[in-house]
């Protein structure tokens, strides 16, 4: 199921955030949206997650029309820049949230939810911390809770907004490698937004370089580095 984005446009007031963006993301790939702030990368991610509605264009995942679906039915595992953990819930309740709010007919029984939470806690290496509150965790731990929470709903794809932005350099490096191997293991199509080209090149299978609401170049890190398609890309990756 590849994700096909075509001619997506979005304006905020009179300010055009996206000016007709088209991209085809093959299944299971780790894709970076790379660009300076104001390039529209976060807007594109939020449109995929259903948190913004585009003015024009389409997005299809396999044969489902994503844009025709409200955010709550899309099952896009969205990880927010500041994680947006529910501060009044324990880590376990945060992770279980997506399962508990399902309609009764397809909500797993309590014991199963608890078991799934345990499995996810192990997956993100937070075993035993299920009873903590988000405010009692470090930045790297919160980030992993956010990820586990997103994975709990068995997402069709994973959308990460500046996933390492709020972490210090050492934790960032560790989490990066860990996230990459986890993504490969789950074979989950993943789109992440970053302004850090080193991070994009180190992690992604494919990089989309964005500027002023357009995609300047889309290719593997190698291609982008070896043959920048536009002066902007050449300039951006040289900096």
């Amino acid at each position: 199921m590849s994700l096909v984005i075509a001619n997506i446009a979005k304006e905020f007031g009179r300010y055009p955030a996206l000016k007709g963006v088209s991209l085809t993301l093959p299944t299971g790939k780790f894709v970076a949206l790379l660009g300076p702030s104001g390039s529209g990368k976060t807007t594109l991610l939020r449109i995929l997650g259903g948190l913004e509605i585009p003015d024009a264009g389409s997005a299809r995942l396999g044969d489902t029309d994503l844009l025709a679906m409200p955010a709550r039915l899309r099952r896009t595992g969205f990880v927010f820049q500041n994680y947006a953990l529910f501060r009044h819930m324990t880590v376990a309740d945060n992770i279980a949230f997506g399962l508990k709010v399902r309609p009764r007919a397809n909500r797993p029984p309590k014991a199963e939810i608890a078991a799934r939470v345990e499995t996810l806690l192990e997956l993100v290496q937070l075993d035993g911390l299920g009873g903590r509150y988000p405010s009692q965790l470090s930045g790297g731990q919160r980030q992993r809770v956010a990820l586990a929470r997103a994975l709990a709903i068995e997402p069709r794809m994973l959308l990460l907004d500046e996933p390492f932005g709020a972490l210090d350099a050492k934790v960032r490096k560790e989490l990066r490698g860990w996230l990459r191997s986890l993504q490969q293991r789950l074979e989950l199509t993943t789109v992440f937004v970053t302004h850090d080209q080193e991070e994009a090149f180190a992690l992604a299978d494919l990089v989309a370089v964005m500027n002023l609401g357009r995609i300047e170049q889309f290719g593997t890190p190698d291609e982008v580095r070896r043959a920048p398609a536009t002066p902007f890309v050449a300039d951006f990756i040289a900096s």
Partner: protein, 287 residues
């Protein structure tokens, strides 16, 4: 500790001892003289002729009716203002729409307008000489000089308390937790119930307590629409005035004490909540 210090200088955030003493004395003196002393005097005056006498003044048909009316008015006003207040704050804090700043200003209106004017407005609209007066009379619906009028006036003056408490809190918390809930599959109602409401519960509790205090204590607006019918449309504050004007000062102060006591209980509850749940309240703002 200061004895151990090698230098005799003051720390940069310390004030001169004399200045500190003067400022504290001023603050405590002012509060004592103008806030604490009057409340104490109200109780003292009520108990002047003994506790039994004061209790008798409260346990009297007109007084009991006034207490009942105040409690009923508050009991109707509170749930309505909770619903309206939460709805208004939710709309203002989490969404952008045309007329938003106008709505915000409108919420402050009851703060700005004199309660007497608020009462007059209802008289003008629902009174016999008012817009709907004759129609209401023909339909045999009594609003002014009856419970509905008192409730409307109370509703008006106590409206801002819940919303004013919640709007800054909700704006501070932003919308990302709600967005997260939606993207995890929650419906709008589930999001509100499981994410928004728990995050604002302490703010809501404060708002409700203050709203309640105001609802039971309101004098001006209610005075205009109530008609002062003893045993029928007199609320507690109105009853205090009636008794005082009748030179029944012990009775007046006894009912006033009860009113003050209710207010003190409200404040004590608020302080208790703040003390008991300090961590959680701080956490609701942090993050």
């Amino acid at each position: 500790m200061s004895a151990k210090r090698p230098y005799r200088y003051r720390g940069p955030r310390e004030d001169a001892p004399l200045l500190r003493l003067i400022l504290s004395a001023l603050a405590i003196g002012f509060i004592g003289l103008f806030l604490v002393l009057p409340v104490v005097l109200v109780f003292a005056e009520a108990l002047n002729s003994g506790l039994a006498f004061a209790l008798d003044a409260i346990d009297e048909p007109d007084a009991r009716s006034a207490i009942r009316l105040s409690l009923i008015a508050a009991a109707i006003t509170l749930p309505l203002n909770i619903v309206f207040g939460v709805a208004a704050s939710w709309a203002i804090a989490k969404f952008d729409f045309p007329g938003k700043s106008f709505l915000t200003t409108l919420i402050d209106l009851p703060y700005a307008i004199s309660p007497v004017v608020a009462g007059m407005i209802y008289l003008l609209v629902f009174g016999l000489q008012g817009w709907f007066g004759e129609y209401l009379r023909d339909a045999d619906v009594q609003i002014v000089f009856a419970l509905p009028g008192i409730v409307l006036a109370t509703l008006f003056v106590s409206f801002p308390f819940v919303a004013r408490e919640l709007i800054p809190l909700m704006q501070d918390q932003g919308r990302t937790e709600e967005e997260a809930a939606i993207s995890l599959g929650a419906s709008g109602f589930q999001t509100f119930l499981r994410v928004t409401l728990p995050n604002i519960k302490w703010g809501l509790m404060y708002g409700v307590l203050l709203c309640n205090a105001r609802a039971m204590g309101e004098f001006g607006a209610v005075s205009v629409v109530s008609g002062h019918i003893r045993g029928l449309t007199n609320t507690m504050p109105l009853h205090v005035e009636v008794l005082y004007n009748d030179y029944q000062s012990v009775g007046a102060f006894a009912v006033a004490s009860l009113l003050a006591l209710l207010a003190l209980v409200t404040l004590a509850l608020k302080a208790l909540l703040e003390w008991r749940y300090a961590d959680e309240i701080a956490a609701a703002h942090r993050h």
